[in-house]
């Protein structure tokens, strides 16, 4: 088609390229993390997946506390480093998600539970609720959980690291 613009063509190409890129991101991340586990003599298996347009890498095992840290601080740090190591190889910024010992999966369940309990309270009392500060990933989980309630709205307020989700009645 002569009217096909170069931009449109590259969009089609980039979708396939994108999936390939994400798969190779997972492989590169696994190599980086596997070697770290070897050096530190840590038992752990590495799972890789592609979800919601991101590479998702998980270290699975029973004795991974040292790599999770207080409130996931070490996990977050290792995710930063893994993204940099992947970007170093691919030349593209990585949005890879890392989980270790099921920490993020468990945190997600806790946040959905918190969102639902708070939603019921706001509906019952009509009073606006402000949650504790969370990172962007955690706030998104709460926003998504509340989006199922027609009578409620959410916003984020404040600046990181103090940025928090506010839940309130629609039209209130």
């Amino acid at each position: 088609m002569s009217e096909t613009t170069p931009a449109a063509t590259s969009t089609v190409d980039s979708e396939e390229d994108q999936t390939e890129l994400l798969i190779s991101e997972g492989d590169l991340a696994a190599d980086y993390l596997e070697r770290l586990l070897d050096i530190t003599d840590t038992d752990g298996d590495i799972d890789m997946d592609v979800r919601d347009g991101r590479a998702v890498v998980a270290i699975v095992g029973d004795h991974l506390k040292a790599f999770i840290g207080p409130r996931g601080a070490t996990l977050d740090a290792l995710q930063d480093l893994t993204r940099l190591a992947v970007a170093q190889q691919t030349g593209t910024r990585s949005r890879l998600m890392l989980d270790i010992g099921g920490h993020r999966a468990q945190r997600k369940e806790e946040l959905i539970d918190l969102a639902q309990r708070t939603a019921e309270e706001v509906i019952a009392s009509g009073e606006t609720a402000r949650l504790a500060p969370m990172n962007a990933f955690e706030r998104k989980i709460v926003h998504d959980a509340i989006s199922g309630y027609d009578e409620l709205e959410t916003e984020s307020e404040g600046e990181d690291p103090g940025r928090r989700v506010v839940i309130f009645l629609r039209n209130a």
Partner: protein, 74 residues
């Protein structure tokens, strides 16, 4: 083990991995990991606002304990 772990973490994120050197120095109260990299890689290892250096410190104290310090030499 600590020096090898840090050397691996740093080698993965720089342009000149062969020029990464980590020395473990045992002091009375601390173990210090001294990191040397190619001059062009210093910025990468420190990161924007010190974020990468902070991440390296966080992971190394997770792996080695709270007495582990990471110093990036330039």
């Amino acid at each position: 083990m600590l020096d090898a772990a840090l050397e691996h973490l740093v080698r993965g994120i720089v342009d000149h991995p062969d020029e990464v050197q980590v020395d473990l120095i045992t002091e009375r109260r601390n173990r210090v990991l001294e990191v040397r990299v190619h001059p062009e890689d210093v910025g990468k290892v420190i990161g924007r606002g010190g974020r990468t250096a902070r991440a390296l410190r966080q992971v190394m104290s997770g792996v080695g304990g709270r007495d582990v310090r990471v110093e990036i030499l330039d």
